[in-house]
């Protein structure tokens, strides 16, 4: 059978053109999404400043950053979890459990001892343990993360309720703790510095460490990751531990902000964080996204919340606007990739 050979020059010449275009396209694609988010953010800030000049005041912006800090911290953990294609619904439960633990171990209005550093370490350890439990059940018992963390949410709430008991609401006696969060250092609230530093570390980890790259790989294709010899199970457990620890930290900080707590300190954070991560462009299916995007998503939502209140919109409509923005945002992201054969669940 006669066959005809293509000269190597012919075939490689075609390839070169394709390669260079592919390289350029990659770069462009990775920039447009965050840029359009940034653009939307700027537009919102401008609109709200016009609607109520108080919006743009330094005081309000610092307040805004203060409010955004905890979602940012939780968002770091959430981003890691979502990048491997899972989800962590236990955030509010973990916050409640660690928050109550923190209050009861610090000097508070109920009496009890002030255990100093332990008041920090024990709740954090609790967060780690809860995260570890979630991770183990998810990987070893092979229960989808959705359900495991759903259960953990109630477990966390339950722990908080049991610890809380039936006595009076405990308030932190140490005022220094209470005001620390909102105190301005170098122009920004302390708690925001914490969030920012943690976020920078996380972003660097994603880009420059084996752990970070493996996270992206696992989220992209777990089967291949496993057969490449990556310790996928261990990796996933570590991610849930990180998420648990960060939720725990958020619980502690939330209590400091409130000055005390019952077991509802975590209420509402889940439905801010997850939409923010999604709006930021991190795909729920995993393997795509990052910390910068989550930062933008959270800032977008917080600006929205803050701006709407200042603009005098009735609180009844708050959810509607956030909900509508989420819907519009995901439609906008998906628009360019529409195709008859595209599957999105």
């Amino acid at each position: 059978m006669m066959t005809t050979t293509l000269s190597p020059e012919q075939s490689s010449g075609v390839n070169e053109k394709l390669i260079q275009t592919a390289s350029r396209r990659s770069l462009l694609k990775s920039l447009t999404e965050p840029l359009s988010l940034l653009g939307a953010l700027v537009v919102l800030i401008v609109i709200f400043s016009i609607l109520n000049p108080r919006f743009a005041s330094l005081e309000n912006l610092q307040n805004l950053l203060n409010q955004a800090s905890l979602p940012l911290i939780i968002g770091i953990g959430a981003t890691f979890v979502i990048l491997i294609g899972s989800i962590d619904l236990s955030v509010e439960g973990v916050m409640a459990a660690t928050g109550v633990t923190f209050v009861l171990m610090s000097a508070n209005s109920r009496g009890g001892a002030d255990l100093g550093i332990w008041a920090w370490l024990v709740p954090l350890a609790l967060g780690v343990v809860l995260g570890l439990a979630s991770g183990l059940l998810y990987t070893k018992a092979r229960i989808p993360s959705f359900l495991v963390t759903l259960g953990m949410w109630f477990v966390g709430l339950g722990i908080a309720t049991v610890l809380y008991g039936t006595d009076a609401y405990p308030e932190l006696s140490n005022d220094a703790l209470t005001v620390w969060a909102a105190t301005i250092t170098a122009g920004l609230p302390n708690v925001f510095w914490v969030a920012l530093i943690l976020m920078i570390i996380a972003a660097l980890a994603l880009r420059y460490t084996r752990f970070g790259r493996a996270t992206l790989a696992i989220g992209n294709n777990e089967d291949i990751a496993r057969s490449s010899g990556m310790p996928v199970t261990k990796h996933k457990i570590v991610i849930f531990i990180i998420a648990g620890a960060l939720s725990g930290l958020a619980g502690i900080l939330a209590v400091m902000q409130m000055g005390g707590t019952s077991n509802n300190i975590g209420d509402g954070y889940l439905f801010i964080t997850i939409p923010a991560v999604v709006i930021g462009g991190t795909a729920l299916s995993g393997g795509k996204g990052g910390m910068l995007r989550t930062l933008l998503g959270i800032m977008l939502l917080m600006v929205l919340k803050n701006g709407l209140i200042l603009a005098g919109v009735s609180p009844n409509f708050e959810d509607m606007v956030s909900g509508a923005i989420l819907v519009v945002a995901i439609i906008a992201v998906a628009w360019s990739q529409r195709g008859r054969l595209r599957i999105e669940k």
Partner: protein
Amino acid sequence: MNKSTTAAVPALRLTGISKTFGSVEALKNVSCEIAKGEVIGLIGENGAGKSTLLKILTGIYQPDQGTIEINGAKTKFRGPRDSVLAGIGVVHQEQSLFTNLTVAENISMNSATGRRFGTTFGIYRWGKLYKSAAETLEIIGSNLGPRTRVGDLSFVDRQMVEIARAIRVDTVKGASPIVILDEPTALLERGETEILEREIRKLKDLGSVIFVSHRLDEIMRNCDRILVMRNGELVADRPTSQVTEAELFKLMVGHESRATNHQRGKVNPDVVPVLEVNNLRRKGKYSDISFAAHAGRVTAIVGTSGSGREELSRAIFGAEKFDGGTIALNGKKVSGWRTPKAVRNGVAYVPAERKVEGMVGTFSAAENIVLTHPGSAAFGPIIMPWKRNQVARKWFAELDVRPNDIDQDLERFSGGNQQKVVMARWLNDPKLQLLVLDHPLRGLDPGAAETVNEHIKGACTNGAAVILLADTLEEALEMGDDIVVMRDGNITARFDVSVDDPSTLDLLERMV
């Protein structure tokens, strides 16, 4: 059996390898040798034991009996990592790259490498990573950019990345690499296989190659020696110069290849063509496409990747859109053309990606068959299970599907039998007018391929028109009554096979 006569230690030697799963003997006493610089072909029908053997070589399975020697040293692979460390790299048929990461990262992903290639204590040094990846790419003669995201690369470029990753093992221990190419050309177009064959020649200088394929002509062309497997045993180990394709087929399958006798139907000018495509275009894919498909005839569309023929065939099925021009079925122009509508109008489509697009794997074979055209199995919107089973059993007998279990999940059947069930689903349409087939024989062993071809011709005889996107030019010439050649989105030539009698050279010239 011919043993290699070189005095040097063979790169790989298997002695008495056996593997049993439950009561099934997947491998029986397999022994062979591969010398450094040799290209060995490995052929056999699906189920003959090829993939089990490969999985043992890559450390996924451990043999129950027998030994593996790498460079003369007895080795045990406890897992994939051991195999990688021994110098064995695999280029799979299904791609095993992370599409969201760069070329450089994917190449370095084999954890056997590491510190020397850009990571220090787990921290990535991107500069170094890119540089070392570029070096590897150069060794294999590719000029891919190491920073490119794999998801943006074409299929053949991704295969280059896979090869680069597979040979990366050579610099680990100084062991010569053994690269396993698992059906590498199954998804490649004509011009692209040239690139791959060039790679194989390069790899010979670096180490050894095991080339697994169903395409006997490629095996003959590229390999020094050929191993034939059948029913778990190694039934032949011959130098290429001492064997012919026909002999190989017989060794693999056990019988002669049935003579193909395709009645070429004549075009009847009075009858409206089943399909008429006029000036069809889709931005960036194809333009100015006009041709007709007639009842009882097979129109083969040939072209390399980028020719636009896949997109065209999907547009005819309504699975992709088109920007301009018209499609007419039996003289009537179509509008609002989507797959449910096409299906209602008697159009059928057998996709190339069988597992993903051709079937619903966790549905049973019976459920798959009646999913599109239930026929007698449904009374309006209601499905009657006993009738469904009747229909399924009929097709199982007709197409000789094995094993004969209509309730088994379709994904558990072998590739050839899956394809038969997919064909059954479309043939069950009494009003089948147009059968569009995209690489229907891909991944099929020769026995199953024959059955499928028979039924394609059968559909023709029953009055349907067939559009075929074949794997090879030979297949196109054998099956096609009309041939349409596409290049870069345009039709560059048309042939009526019985009148013009084109050769593969005629086709190639207009394809590239």
